[in-house]
Symmetry: none
């Protein structure tokens, strides 16, 4: 029992296609292309079609957190349909007339709010024109010729449904994101400080661009879809042997990479760049992303624990290994970063912004679309700045602080990679501890905080 649980990775690998990473966003099975807006497999395609077409209402007999995989996807129809919707499957792509051919109006994915998902699942679906508010051409209008700009996959209802209390002048804000001249050019780290100086005007107005809101929602959605399955496995601490732990580590590393990829695929601008560009960016930033993720961990003991471990290592190993001074330095900086994150109380919204900004801030030497990348980065810097300005008007330096954290993350994770290999367990521990500190008893040098 426990053995098989530890080696679920084996079962997973049985079904894993290595030659092609195009996997279904819902269940991870091999995808056969885009269906209803997102890359998905034949099974999930048919399931979504049947469910929506027949207006089925499902029920989860468990805790609505059933895992979706090729083997397990048929165990809960409720959770499967929820994930279809969460991942962006577009109900509008199902044709009532049943005519197979013809007009493909570039039906992209649609990211709807959790409330809308709840209503659909409950069968209260207001199938058409949920709140188009007089827009005669229907919703979203995917066939409009907007030249493939960023706002392609804007959810039609999420900002509006929250009421009209927040909405300011939508025209001004619409321009700011679409047109590059309004949002000033922000070169990444050096210039972001300069940028914040004349951004005070926005802070005063308390405004938060509708498009920025939408982009932020998409980022939050992308973050939500990459739930880590690992802690579920590791939580039942049944006689953790080193062999199991090794297997778990491999699984975790695989899972982490997989989720970063899934996250990238969910980015609103995913289709605007080539896969190899994302590969380059991910290769250059994955360790920073992991560190950022670790810093957002709910568990406060993680990094304190880590620092304790590093110190212990230092005492016992510096006689043979020379680089430990740097390790201590890294530990201190990590500790600072950790405390800074706690002090700021970095929110999920800021986190997703920082994540995508960091992702887009990698070295882009040799990229053919540097301008596009810069535009994207600018856009999300703007989102983050607007968010902090509107949500924390009393903290004028908050945005700058966040960017400074990014800089520090960049430096620290680089140093972490510079630590020699025989201290590899440190890295593994950082990753492992960043999610659940369940195994702390089995590790030396733990610290309480």
């Amino acid at each position: 029992m426990s053995v098989t649980a530890g080696y679920k990775v084996a079962i997973r690998t049985f079904c894993y296609d290595r030659s092609d990473r195009r996997v279904c966003l819902i269940c991870g099975d091999r995808a056969t292309g885009l269906h209803y807006g997102i890359t998905s497999c034949e099974g999930c395609k048919g399931f979504f079609k049947r469910s929506i077409f027949n207006k089925r209402v499902y029920k989860c007999i468990r805790d609505k957190k059933c895992t979706m995989s090729r083997k397990q996807r048929n165990r809960c129809q409720y959770c499967r349909l929820v994930k279809c919707l969460q991942m962006g499957m577009n109900r509008k792509a199902i044709r009532e007339d049943g005519m197979p051919g013809g007009r493909n109006k570039t039906t992209g994915p649609v990211y709807i709010s959790e409330e809308a998902i709840r209503r659909i699942m409950a069968g209260e679906e207001f199938d058409d024109e949920e709140n188009t508010s007089g827009n005669s051409s229907g919703e979203c209008d995917p066939s409009s010729p907007n030249n493939g700009r960023i706002d392609r996959n804007i959810s039609p209802d999420s900002p509006r449904s929250s009421g009209s209390s927040r909405s300011l002048d939508s025209n001004v804000l619409k321009d700011s994101c679409l047109i590059s001249e309004v949002s000033t050019v922000i070169p990444y780290l050096p210039a972001c400080f300069a940028y914040s100086s004349h951004s005070l005007s926005w802070t005063e107005t308390y405004s938060f661009n509708v498009h920025s809101q939408s982009l932020l929602q998409q980022l939050l959605q992308a973050e939500k879809t990459k739930q880590l399955k690992f802690p579920v496995l590791i939580q039942n601490r049944c006689a953790m042997t080193p062999s199991k732990l090794l297997a778990l580590l491999c699984q975790l590393a695989d899972e982490l990479l997989f989720q970063q990829i899934m996250w990238i695929k969910q980015l609103p601008f995913f289709k605007e760049m080539l896969i190899r560009h994302y590969t380059c960016l991910l290769g250059a930033s994955w360790h920073e992303l992991v560190l950022l993720q670790a810093l957002m961990s709910r568990d406060c003991q993680v990094l304190g624990d880590l620092c304790g471990i590093i110190e212990k290592y230092h005492v016992s190993k510096d006689t043979i290994h020379r680089c430990t001074d740097e390790a201590v330095e890294v530990a201190k900086q990590l500790n600072y970063l950790f405390r800074k994150f706690r002090q700021l109380g970095v929110t999920e919204e800021e986190y997703v912004c920082m994540k995508v900004i960091n992702f887009l801030s990698q070295d882009t030497k040799g990229f053919s679309n540097v301008a596009h990348l810069e535009q994207l980065k600018k856009c999300y810097l703007n989102v983050c700045q607007e968010y902090t300005a509107s949500q924390y008007p009393g903290q004028p330096t908050r945005f700058v602080d966040l960017m400074a954290c990014l800089t520090m993350i960049h430096n620290i994770s680089g140093k972490l990679l510079g630590i020699p290999l025989h201290q590899l367990p440190l890295l593994l521990k950082v990753i492992l501890h960043s999610f659940k500190a369940v195994l702390t008893d089995n590790w030396p040098g733990q610290m309480q905080e």
Copy 2:
């Protein structure tokens, strides 16, 4: 051949005469379509599924000539199953993975001989394709639908391409190939029992059982298909940074697991056990398989290097870690094993035998098919014994020595896993070094040999 062909024609004619596509060929009830190859009713479909899937063995309490009709079909399970088989129900259409939906590649009935039916009814079935005179090219096993996933692609005639380089009787070898042409998998279980008792006489005559040869060829083939792609990646040593190395390690672990799985799928007896059985066996033996693989490494410096590393670790860490004495012990035993393998000059043939024997020798508590497992193990023990006896007549203890190595591998790898986690790099190094010692310059404590 002619007999079965005529039989097939008779059956076909019989079917076409009274099958109007709406009547079950077994019981005459209303048919709901094709099931397992023939038009049949839901009842007979479910009955066949249950009988084959659960490997049921029935018994007729009358004269084995019970009539099948809607009213009477439940009176004798034996005669019902016989008629299912006689009418051409295809056992291959039952999916071992249990995944619903999709389409099978092998559509159509399969008409097998009365002898085969008798064996199936007696429970002596092994899923080979005895006389498939019916459908088109149904010899390989495209059993369940796979949407382009990993599939066991058995190359049809690989042992033949090796020619007659081996100095044994080429006629015998050719015969075995001819046999495998007719039936893809040679029925091995009865044979190995019959032969194992008089294996000594073959030792004297330098003969090597035809069936054992075939089994050995299959094992070699399974080994050949799992080439490691990792060394290709690692060979160009371009500025190996720790980050790259970490990525490579994760990749290597994934690759290793994947290859073990592929190896399992290539085993001749793969279809005879459930996936979860293989998962259990792999979970219990993967570290031993890795160690065995490492011992067969061409690079002689690998283990010597490893032992050097371990000793270095011992000197520097025993002040804080208590288990290092055991590590030194493990190192010594590894060194012994290493030298033993070199001294014996373990061949590829012996290696594949040892591998499968070790795989089948794991703890099988709770297995429902312990007897089957034991049979298989005995069979391959016999193959190995016959091989050593015929190839090394001057080394009467060679087989015993090999088995002793297996025991030692079992013990050592167990101890390796018992080494506390902070010495995890040792394990990783064992794995990493076992293929290419390219990175040795970057590691401390290297040894020349």
